[in-house]
Symmetry: none
Subunit: 148 residues, 2 copies
DNA sequence: GTAATATATTCACTTTATTGAATATTTATT
DNA sequence: AATAAATATTCAATAAAGTGAATATATTAC
């Protein structure tokens, strides 16, 4: 009936349930009140980037965002408006309401020269591991924002 | 011929040239090799949010400033993994660290049937204005996530 | 390898979106 | 207010997107 809603539902189902193949997914969709042909489901899977991969419990349909790192990286790049610093701290300005997400992204980086972050609504304070390395930390952040 | 291309051209033209009304724009489009009816142009202007406003040099068609709201809409669509509800509340699961951003987006919608939101890291609680309208609120959220 | 299972594609049909000509409505001018 | 100008809407036609049944291709199992 409605493609947008159906594809959102597919992402929802795959997030909380297991589907070993498209027929499983078909059945789960049916349970959710959405009837669709396998042909359509195949096309949906292609459009959503869903892959079938083998794990310890056999095969599974997996959403591409279950490896969220790269996707978030792309998001963060768009969200960040500016990066500035004084002698002791770095301030990142973001789109409205996006500071927390950017901070969360920086927080989860391994071996990072960042001591910690505090997020407001559109402003993120970044405290470097050492104030003597502010400029390196800025470069580090910039490098981690660009997708290349 | 191609709507996407035509609308992009319209934005391009209005950035560099002046158009006092849709007929001017029609002529400028024609010069750019795009022929279109006034009815279509009227629809394009509506979809692009183009307004006719009076300035010192007379009337002008003006593009809406790039407001960050539309950019964020695209971000939020990717961040949301699932939308589920019981009888009284809605839970939205998001990519790690993105719940605050999604909540912020929902909070700023006008005339929304949402009482409020509370964000964790990857989980957002949405309290509807009325528990009797949970399903409508879910539809409302879904509608506001898709860019069309 | 072959059989079984899973997914993708083709074809025919339906639904939705896009469009121009004509017309109606709204907005500006005098 | 009357008229002119500009924009929006209706209607009918066309184009594009979405869909399922059947079928072909690809993948996994044996």
């Amino acid at each position: 009936m409605n493609k947008q809603v159906r594809q959102q539902k597919i992402r929802e189902i795959l997030h909380r349930r297991e589907a070993g193949n498209q027929h499983d997914l078909l059945r789960l969709l049916d349970e959710a009140g959405i009837k669709v042909a396998q042909a359509t489901l195949s096309r949906d899977c292609t459009e959503l980037g869903i892959m079938r991969s083998k794990g310890v419990h056999g095969y599974r349909l997996v959403l591409p965002e279950e490896n969220p790192g790269n996707i978030i990286k792309g998001l963060v790049e768009v969200e960040v408006l500016s990066i500035q610093a004084n002698e002791t701290a770095i301030i990142i300005k973001t789109l409205p309401g996006r500071a927390h997400g950017v901070g969360s992204f920086l927080d989860q980086l391994k071996n990072s020269p960042i001591l910690g972050t505090i997020a407001g609504d559109d402003t993120l304070l970044v405290i470097p591991a050492s104030v003597s390395q502010i400029s390196q930390v800025i470069s580090y952040i910039q490098d981690n924002l660009s997708k290349n």
